[in-house]
Symmetry: C2
Subunit: 166 residues, 2 copies
């Protein structure tokens, strides 16, 4: 049988949901596809590249259209959207965090842009975006109310520095 790259990614997500990130091995995925382990290396350079593609697909599915709103509401919505995308899959945050270590830019860019539009200095926008993304990654398993409270701490800090005269 023949498999396209996208088929492999989708099967990998299914395996992830069934077995968790430790159970998502090249060999298990190959067996799941009815193929030899070595065959996967025709579609992906290695396991890292496969996980990157899986993370991209999970995030792509969670993406929402941009809306016009206040910058702090926009940041909150981006964070909640990221959280929701991760929580749709077993060990989602573990996977995204792993991939995020290799490519932080993709996740942080929209938040940094929003902070920039709000008038934050470059340093603040960069550090703030990073702190928000890592907060979301680190608090996947928290209760929604705790997540909102913790996120509020960061957003309050940002509000104080972006518009001190509020």
């Amino acid at each position: 049988m023949r498999y396209r790259r996208q088929d492999v990614v989708e099967r990998a997500i299914a395996v992830l949901d069934e077995r968790g990130i430790d159970g998502l091995t090249m060999r298990k995925l190959a067996a799941d596809l009815g193929v030899q382990p070595g065959a996967l290396y025709h579609h992906f350079a290695g396991k890292d590249a496969l996980l990157q593609a899986v993370a991209d697909e999970i995030l792509r599915r969670g993406r929402r259209p941009a809306e016009i709103m206040a910058w702090d509401a926009e940041l909150q919505l981006l964070c909640v959207g990221l959280r929701d995308a991760m929580r749709r899959h077993r060990d989602g945050a573990l996977l995204i965090a792993q991939v995020h270590r290799a490519d932080a830019e993709a996740l942080e860019q929209p938040l940094r842009a929003a902070l920039g539009r709000a008038g934050a200095a470059d340093d603040l926008a960069r550090v703030g975006a990073r702190a928000l993304v890592r907060f979301v990654l680190a608090h996947e398993d928290d209760e929604a109310v705790d997540f909102a409270l913790g996120l509020g701490l960061l957003l309050d800090g940002l509000r104080q520095r972006v518009s001190p005269s509020a």
Copy 2:
């Protein structure tokens, strides 16, 4: 030759610093000690228990005596102390974060206690302590100035909620 538990832990830290967390395997550690891999299981139930002991030792070495100071300065000092303890070893934050997932209480307790003494409600103390610890774990590799700025965001948020009339 005979090894005490503590000898194994210290050798493990040396291996960690040399090879990083992926290079700290039971087999490499055993070879480093001049012993068969199976021998390690007389000292530790498994790799998790070994890593737990390594993390405990790293944190123990970084512990400082308590001082009497303002609650926000105390939080900052605890966070910087944790950061410094981690940064003394290769992949320190990765190791501590891994162990922290199994036992969050040990790391968060001192921060939660400080927030409690400052008058924070239980929920705020719990969520605040957790956010601070995870911030430190997630920002090990950041520049000191970025770390301070990001930490300041959280501390500002906490100040606003702990003593709103400041």
